[in-house]
Symmetry: C2
Amino acid sequence: MYNPEKPYKQQILNSIRETWKSSAFFDVEKTASYPILKKTSLIEVFHTDGIGTKGIFHWKKRTFASAVQDAMAMNLNDLAMMRATPQTLQNHLYLPKDDHEAVLEIIRELVKSAKKFGIMVTGGETSIHNDMEGMDLSITMSAYIRRKTDLVPNKVQEGDTIIGIPSTGLHSNGFTKVRELYKRYQPVFVIPTAIYLLPVTEIREMYQINGMMHITGGAFTKLKDILTPKLDINILQEQSPHKIFWKLRSKGISSEEMYRTFNCGIGFVFSVPPEQAKTILSKYPTYHRIGHVSKGHGNVNIKSVFDGEEVRY
Amino acid sequence: MYNPEKPYKQQILNSIRETWKSSAFFDVEKTASYPILKKTSLIEVFHTDGIGTKGIFHWKKRTFASAVQDAMAMNLNDLAMMRATPQTLQNHLYLPKDDHEAVLEIIRELVKSAKKFGIMVTGGETSIHNDMEGMDLSITMSAYIRRKTDLVPNKVQEGDTIIGIPSTGLHSNGFTKVRELYKRYQPVFVIPTAIYLLPVTEIREMYQINGMMHITGGAFTKLKDILTPKLDINILQEQSPHKIFWKLRSKGISSEEMYRTFNCGIGFVFSVPPEQAKTILSKYPTYHRIGHVSKGHGNVNIKSVFDGEEVRY
């Protein structure tokens, strides 16, 4: 989805919303960020995302399975957050040269991943862009939401506990910054993004989840999307994140920029009532309490794990 | 769609076809190149395409309305060929730098075009790729086909007349070659691709169209897709194409490569019974008879307008 930190996000949404209308195929309802296309008890939604400039490293190291996992994760994790079940995907593969072996390996990995998640690959396109240094894989998924059970607000509530699911490292965001700071490749750059679809689906079927967020472009500023004007989300991260984040911090990135740009070790966030949090945390020992929701003014407050600095978005 | 000239096209299709299966949302039937997702009397199909390296010129000249028209045309023309009515689109915009004004102008033009064709813009993504020289706009459309009237074979028949609809120039293909041959920008590079959706829809509702093809990547080799093994398509182009094609030919590109890479002045092709052709040609004076279908061996035979050379694919 469009990066919420960008000043043009709301203008884009206002603009595209003008095109949302019912048709021969669908009845349409407008929500804040996507239209819902109604058919019987199922609602169709769409999602698009890709790898970004991380693709430079995947291309150079030919880590195509990881590249596919990154592109799938970026879509599946956002759909998980929307409580949507993926159905079909179209892919648009960008390569800097026409490398048949690469194309076929990427499609093979894409099909493998699609089968794992029960998704149909309905078609796609390959573009040879000899004006670009790396690769990219854009994926557009169609998915469905069950009207009765899945169409619920995604907003935190006062007193909620914030649970964080660990990331695998940098995931697929902040690579423009990473490339500014590192002149040389590091193996940690190509670790693929964690896919949270299966655990998130399991947890949302069993527990009351008030709010969810996939920590991607815009990082912790994205939490503003699940806030309401009279509440604050307060993050106090106790677990030390991966080394790469400490190294980035030591290269002069402020805590404010760290939490705005990088996942800082946390890839997905739940906001749940405290008693539910207890059960979830005992069942999933790698998840951690990383904060709580209090009365406030629609702010995200973070006490930086790096230097104790207080950051506010 | 995947370029038919690429040796890996069939392997890609065989591979992705493994993922086509029925689900809670759809019943699925497998066709040769796409799955049909059935709901009542309407069938949902998807399509993905973008601008390619032509985007370098649109970015440099900031011809964003033309860039949007190119991306829309690449999808709408292929859907027209599938007799599909577009419903929704997701966009994925690639820019070499974070230029808010450019983003907003592109979205504005996209919305304008979407409204013109009755399409909902359901969402999208913007990616800043500072490793690329130009822009790209990848669009994925969902569309519907009416089961009873639109689900017909797209194959030429013996004796058919081949009608060509003029292109506006280079359209959005062959720019890798163009950039090899031209060191300097020419205004003709940014002329947008013609959108054939409305005339094609009108014509297919009124006349018997046996085969249709959008002349894009792979150019006239794409006509093999609408051939059967015992027929040939014979092209004898009488109208002189745009100057740019003559210039490209004069830079040493053979006729064989010209017709494999460029639309050579013809953007869309119909194969229709001769008596229908007569009526269509009198109603649409800019369209031309450019060939016919004979008994043969599944070949596309072209007598080059440039040098009279006989080309066979």
